[in-house]
């Protein structure tokens, strides 16, 4: 059994090559270490986001204090919660599990994805998730046309990825998957942002601001048909009094959604090992695919 190990800043590659004739499998592992600074920044930004949302929602300091105490208690309780695997979950359990998944993910600093190559049969891909579950996918060797090393370009970066061209499918199958672990936080953010409402404002400065927002959304003044999505009801007593403007709700919700999605982008765990770690796995997959073709 030959072991090869390659290490970089965030990733470690381990190769177990079983030469036993009865156990002809080839296992490749990639271990990912997460940066503590990023985790701290993410927590801080989540806290800022929630504080801002509560302020907008409630606007009184005593209520903020109360809510922050409640949030703190909830977080502390979740940290000490032990993970339990259940087959059927009800609504409260589901919510608890999602929070738990998020939090336990951040307190697990290293996890490993594996590729097991069985030349005669196929390839097994193992992906662990934050709650401790491991998802295994098996791809029969007959379905794999070719493994490819893809150079991917996004608007902000470039990276290499290893993918399989599967017979009969249009899309490539990624060997190392992108993982989303922020479902709980996203859920909280969405619920809060959509529930933002504004009460009647009598402050002229605020009215001017609301007027500016109105002009930004190009909303004419006399949209008085009921059922119009941007309906504005005007108080005729003063030219600067505006009440119940739904546009501002949407504007603020849009800003919150943008903030949440940016946060989600940072929270998404993308596996981008360097190409020197992907090349041996790619070669092993090529060898398995070629031997399958030779047999045919």
């Amino acid at each position: 059994m030959a072991d090869v190990r390659l290490t970089s800043a965030r990733y470690t590659y381990v190769h177990n090559d079983h030469k036993d004739p009865f156990l002809a499998i080839d296992t490749h592992h990639i271990a990912v270490r997460k940066s503590i600074a990023k985790i701290f920044l993410i927590y801080l930004s989540i806290l800022l986001l929630l504080t801002n949302t509560f302020y907008v929602l409630l606007e009184t300091s005593s209520t903020i204090f109360l809510w922050s105490i409640l949030l703190g208690a909830f977080l502390v309780k979740s940290l000490h919660w032990k993970p339990v695997e259940r087959d059927s979950l009800d609504a409260t359990d589901l919510f608890r599990e999602s929070i738990l998944m998020v939090l336990s993910f951040y307190f697990v600093f290293e996890y490993t994805e594996s590729v097991v190559v069985m030349p005669a049969f196929g390839v097994q891909l193992e992906t662990p998730y934050g709650s401790g579950r491991i998802i295994r996918r098996f791809v029969p060797i007959g379905k794999i046309l070719k493994p490819v090393l893809n150079e991917c370009v996004t608007p902000v970066t470039c990276y290499w990825s290893l993918a399989l061209i599967i017979h009969g499918e249009e899309e490539l199958m990624l060997v190392f998957k992108v993982k989303f672990n922020s479902c709980g936080i996203l859920g909280i953010g969405l619920i809060l942002s959509l529930s933002v409402r504004f009460e009647e404002r009598k402050d002229p400065k605020e009215s001017i601001f609301l007027l500016a927002v109105e002009s930004l959304f190009d909303c004419p003044r006399d949209m008085s048909e009921p059922g119009h999505p941007n309906r504005i009801e005007w108080d005729d007593s003063s030219s600067f009094r505006i009440c119940k403007i739904r546009i501002l709700n949407k504007c603020h919700s849009a800003v919150l959604l943008i903030l949440v999605s940016l946060l989600a982008h940072f929270i998404v765990q993308e596996l981008r090992p360097p190409v020197k770690m992907l090349v041996p796995i790619w070669k092993a997959l090529c060898a398995a695919t070629d031997s399958k073709e030779a047999q045919i």
């Binding site: 370009v153 608007p155 470039c158 020197k276």
Partner: protein
């Protein structure tokens, strides 16, 4: 004594060409970048092109000769230009510069926002920058004033600049306030392998005058409206006595291209009943230009102003005698007849061209063009510019900011602020994503590339 390989390694540049205009678009700038890149690859340099995504064409593509192209998925917003976000492209440009181990960034075309942003970020990160301007711009309208200010900002800190003609150099130096010694003139070239004359010489019984251009004001379409009926009136299928004897001279026009002035040409055709003597082809795809050119004897170009007219070179390469306005002096005197941008003068020039046409040999003209205008020559001259740029000293932020301050009372300060923010964002990005996390791309050597054979052919060309 140094080994030749070591010397080559030292002189070998790794260039990033940046522009919003590249394949699959067709045009002067696109062709320039492509041909220049191919010739630089043959000289042994490494070239990578960066442009924006065209529809589904997004990601990394490899072209002939191993030319790597990054189609970055930023959507174009106006006339094929990427949305200018100032700092939005900093992460991707930094990633590409580090992973490809680039030594020099070469931007093309003043109208390209991606080019300006790339040059700005490259200078912030300490890379050397070269800029090539392909077009002439005005000074009077609001759009030109803003464009000139942006150009001034970019060129304030660029190491070297290249223009495609002396006229273009004057225009660029005035617009950007550059010292003229910083600007090189390297004219464009033509692909003589693609633009070959017809295998058999056309008979001179009927003279065919070809016009291929965009039918807009700037290209002199209004002049054509005056000139064509006058020439057709002068040569109404009448027998002319020329010194060699009696010859029947008929003149016909072929007009290719489209634009807002096409309507005027159609009206002229109807009014003078020239439907059988003036053929309108409409827009001609670039691949079919050669076949249109070889069906004619004379090429007529009436553009009022142009930085460099490649169309004239293409026509001369196909063996056509050119009649052109004085805006272009890119051909030797025996290959071109010049005229003022005035209808009468142009008609006289066409008469002279018809007179000297029997003395022109298309094959000889083509061979002369091959020696005069070659992309290999352009690449060699550009290499000299790169060497000069790389010899420039490295400057820190304060020294560079002093250059921006000279751009204007208010503009200078705004430019300084923009560069300071860019510098800070760059350092933030270095903390967020350190350079050691960005993996360098392994070299891919194409199996059919034979450097020994290439250098042998290159040496033969030189002798």
């Amino acid at each position: 004594m140094e080994l030749p390989e070591a010397m080559d390694e030292r002189k070998r540049h790794r260039i990033l060409m940046v522009s919003d205009f590249f394949y699959p678009n067709f045009g002067g700038v696109e062709n320039h970048i492509y041909y220049l890149s191919q010739c630089l690859l043959k000289l042994g340099h490494k070239v990578v092109v960066m442009t924006h995504a065209y529809g589904n064409r997004s990601g990394v593509r490899y072209m002939t000769g191993g030319l790597k192209v990054y189609y970055v998925p930023w959507r174009p917003f106006l006339m094929q230009n990427t949305l200018p976000t100032f700092y939005g492209t900093l992460p991707i440009i930094r990633t590409i510069l580090i992973r490809e181990k680039i030594s020099l960034v070469h931007g093309h075309q003043a109208f390209s926002t991606l080019c300006h942003e790339a040059l700005m970020h490259a200078r912030t990160m300490g890379y050397k920058a070269v800029f090539t301007d392909h077009s002439l711009y005005g000074f009077a309208d609001v759009g030109s004033i803003h464009m000139n200010k942006v150009l001034q900002f970019t060129l304030a800190d660029t190491n070297q600049a290249i223009c495609v003609s002396h006229t273009s150099k004057e225009n660029t130096v005035l617009r950007a306030g550059l010292p003229p010694e910083k600007v090189f003139v390297i004219p464009n070239a033509v692909d003589t392998a693609m633009f070959k004359p017809a295998p058999e010489r056309l008979s001179c019984d009927e003279i065919v005058i070809v016009v291929i251009s965009r039918l807009v004001y700037r290209k002199g379409a209004d002049l054509l409206v005056e000139v064509i009926p006058e020439v057709c009136r002068l040569y109404p299928n009448v027998i002319h006595f020329i010194s060699f004897g009696k010859t029947c001279v008929k003149v016909r026009f072929i007009v290719g291209g489209d634009g807002p002035k096409r309507v005027r040409l159609e009206e002229m055709r109807e009014k003078n009943s020239l439907q059988d003597r003036v053929e309108m082809l409409g827009a001609v795809p670039h691949a079919q230009v050669q076949s249109v050119l070889i069906s004619g004897h004379i090429f007529l170009n009436s553009s009022l102003t142009e930085a460099f007219c490649i169309a004239i070179l293409e026509a001369a390469s196909c063996g056509l005698l050119t009649v052109s306005t004085r805006a272009h002096q890119v051909l030797p005197d025996d290959m071109i007849v010049l005229a003022e941008p005035d209808p009468n003068d142009m008609v006289q020039a066409i008469k002279k061209a018809i007179y000297i046409l029997p003395k022109i040999d298309p094959q000889v003209m083509h061979l002369r063009m091959k020696s005069l205008y070659s992309w290999h020559d352009v690449a060699r001259r550009t290499e000299v510019v790169y060497d000069r740029a790389l010899q420039c000293s490295n400057e820190n932020l304060l020294e560079r900011l002093l250059r921006y301050l000279t751009c204007g009372a208010w503009a200078g300060k705004i430019f300084c602020l923009v560069m300071i923010i860019d510098f800070l964002l760059w350092h933030l990005l270095q903390l967020w994503q350190p350079s050691k996390d960005i993996e360098e791309v392994p070299e891919i050597v194409l199996p059919h590339h034979q450097p020994e054979e290439m250098s042998q052919n290159f040496n033969e060309d030189q002798h």
